[in-house]
Symmetry: C2
Subunit: 466 residues, 2 copies
């Protein structure tokens, strides 16, 4: 519990109305988008400036109070659950888009800007911010920086870290630090900025970001291909890339998900197709036309049983809405679900998916798989029910075996969702020991009192270990 | 001087023939591509494995011997000059291309691979590694990682850090650390890899890298546009970008350089044009055709006095050879030259160039300017003669004023050449004090005895300061 004297100081710092202490309010901040984690903070603060954030952190650091930073709360690895109580620092009131420059292809935004609002502001000037985590309707820029978020478009455009030119970060000791700036080529000493990107709120609080933008692609073209066999679909993905075409998106949906989508949103998809690929090419009209032709030809040669090219934008939008809704479609089918997120080299995707099926059989659980097939980042989702302890245990084992498989295949525990609470038990065996030791030293350097998002990224039990 | 006992230990570690101690040999390693810096090392070692590098560093660390890592020695900021003597660790014997995967679009290479060899190996498989520092005929992958190198193609493709998926790094204490891997989306804790990219050999020795490749663009199309006025040329660059076209390259050459090129390689360029833009679009044939049309139209509307589209590849190659040769063309015109490298927001390029002209007049020095106009990274080169102390002093002042101008315009001290010895005196005023302090702490953490490339990045005098 936090002393009332401290609460009073917090109110002085950010204003009375920007400090929440009522149980019902706190309950809202106990959860994120994961199904099984929850913990109430002692207090929530909603600062509006970096100066306020600095004063809150200074106070928290002096009194050793945990601070968990939270944007839209859409995290799917337990990253913003305040497991040690203390303060939740919400950035949502820092939501100004300060500047968008069409000449410099840059945006300066506060951390609390919702991604969809940024997309809209960019679109009004014919600009485009590529990172597209599927929580874009609610997630904030600050959250995507903390998570180094991905999304379908990463295949062609790369992840969040590739679009950050500058950051304003408040350190654990309450110092405001400005890194990078408006220029895409900036070689002044160490790349400190990237240290904060993907650090899941454990090294500092991002309050402002300078983003790199692109011109909006002139046109987009969607294609859907159905396969009798995941191996054939995987082969087709490899052949498309090897042909020199990098579509903006190549999304994969398995038979279970395909049937579920068809049930909720009938589109006449064949119930027995083993794999569905949803592809999108973007760019100039001429380039997209040429690329789409190539993609369709490769799908045909690769044994697609059916290829659909939507006749208009409305039909294409419907397909993408179905893909975006896949998460909800999957999890509405079970009481509890683990949203998994692993990454393997592209040539190992079919193998990973085959192994996921074996694991599902072995533990008698349902594991629908969707994912960004183009870049090897796949989401095997484990459906379960935490009210049934036996079944829940099996699901947890299945989940762990999927993670172990990704590591064995030369991949990563997470492609875009992060480690948070969900995967930290795997970190000691997934990382090089020297790298793991260095991460802990950097944490110690930047947050010596361990106040920033404590209990995340790696098990506390491993803290003393090399 | 290094004791003979230690030299013997180094010979035991890397082999007799891989240790150089003769004065004539050492002299080769006293220089890089800068004109005014030089210092002989005490010994040069040429290890062939990461294990050998680890043992060399362990020994150096125990005995507090400086270690300056060196690839091709093409550095233009004094980065690989062993100013404190000690060991030069050359990576050139670690030059194996271990694997290139067309499916994964990845290459695994040792640090000493020369960039041109990598380009050739990639091209044989229809692949492409975008970073293109103009020293590509001699520079090594390890050097480009240490410098986070850029080049003309960065406009469309980004800098080296955007193409590194994994690194093997040996720390100052002689530990081998493996970071990242084969997957483009990898979210396992902190982004340690990027800390080493651009660290100029001061945090560790890169021995191996996993690179992200792209399919080779189908076609390239070059255009040349001449302007009577740099402001008009700058406007055209902005308008091209704002139109949604991002060419692979937009290179700028000023009137002085244009005349010098014409003198060395006559092409009938008008002697009185104020600015020359050399542009290249790449991609699918259809896209390039469409983009090139747009670019030509914008140049015409923007007041270009002449636009040339080479009739074939040979003619285009000649233009690019002239651009690549601009550096040599400039420096062959003077006894001593400072190769400068600053970065400003794109909408400030014309202003920067105008100020460079004012500075040149003020100090009565010649400052030819070339650069990557598309991304605001410009090279104002200061011509001088270090045998004439008065003139040399003026040139140094002119150089410093150019650096100060770039910072005032919201830019960076360096876009792609790094800080090295050349710009370190500017670091305290160019960086946020909190960021500067953190850089020093990170250096202390990774290299507590300060053996790695000592005397670089910031003045030692600032070490005690906040």
């Amino acid at each position: 519990m936090i002393e009332s004297r401290l609460i009073a100081q917090l109110k002085q710092t950010v204003g009375e109305e920007a400090v929440l202490t009522v149980k019902e309010d706190l309950e809202t901040y106990a959860h994120d988008a994961t199904a099984t984690w929850s913990h109430r903070p002692d207090v929530v603060v909603l600062p509006t400036t970096a100066g306020q954030v600095a004063r809150v952190l200074k106070l928290a650091n002096e009194h050793r109070i945990p601070v968990t930073t939270r944007g839209g709360g859409t995290n799917v690895s337990g990253g913003c659950i305040p497991v040690k109580g203390g303060i939740v620092l919400s950035t949502v009131k820092m939501d100004r888009i300060i500047e968008i420059s069409k000449t410099n292809l840059t945006a300066i935004v506060e951390a609390g800007v919702v991604l969809q609002d940024l997309y809209n502001a960019c679109a009004r000037q014919g600009l485009f911010y590529p990172p597209d985590p599927q929580s874009f309707l609610g997630c904030t820029v600050g959250g995507t920086v903390a998570e180094n978020s991905g999304g379908p478009r990463c295949l062609k455009y790369g992840v969040t870290k590739q679009y950050i030119l500058g950051l304003e970060v408040v350190t654990a000791s309450g110092e405001i630090m400005r890194l990078g700036g408006l220029v895409p080529k900036n070689r002044m000493g160490y790349e400190l900025m990237t240290l904060f990107i993907g650090s899941e709120g454990t090294l500092g609080v991002v309050t402002r970001a300078v983003l790199r933008l692109l011109p909006m692609p002139e046109v987009q073209k969607t294609m859907l291909a159905l396969f009798d066999d995941i191996v054939a679909a995987g082969e087709v993905v490899s052949r498309i890339i090897a042909s020199g075409v990098i579509p903006a998106k190549i999304e994969y949906v398995d038979n279970w998900v395909l049937r579920r989508i068809e049930q909720l949103m009938p589109m006449g998809l064949p119930q027995d197709a083993d794999a569905l690929l949803l592809l999108q090419c973007d760019g100039s009209a001429e380039a997209v036309e040429a690329e789409a032709k190539k993609v369709v030809a490769i799908c045909q040669q690769g044994g697609a049983r059916e290829i659909r090219v939507p006749k208009d934008q409305a039909e294409a939008d419907k397909l993408w809405a179905a893909r975006s809704g896949a998460g909800a479609a999957i999890f509405s089918a079970a009481h509890t679900g683990f949203i998994e997120d692993v990454s393997v080299p592209r040539d190992k995707i079919a193998e990973l998916i085959r192994k996921c099926r074996e694991i599902a059989q072995k533990y008698d659980v349902c594991v629908p798989v969707v994912g960004h097939a183009g870049d090897g980042n796949v989401h095997p989702n484990v459906l379960t029910d935490d009210r049934d302890p036996v079944q829940f245990e099996k699901a947890k084992k299945a989940k762990d075996e999927i993670l172990a498989t990704a590591i064995e295949l030369g991949g990563a525990l997470s492609g875009e969702h992060g480690i948070g609470l969900d995967k930290q038990h795997f970190m000691p065996r997934a990382l090089d020991p020297a790298a793991f030791a260095l991460m802990k030293q950097i944490k110690k350097l930047l947050d010596p009192n361990g106040i920033l998002n404590p209990g995340k990224l790696w098990p506390e039990a491993s803290d003393g270990q090399r």
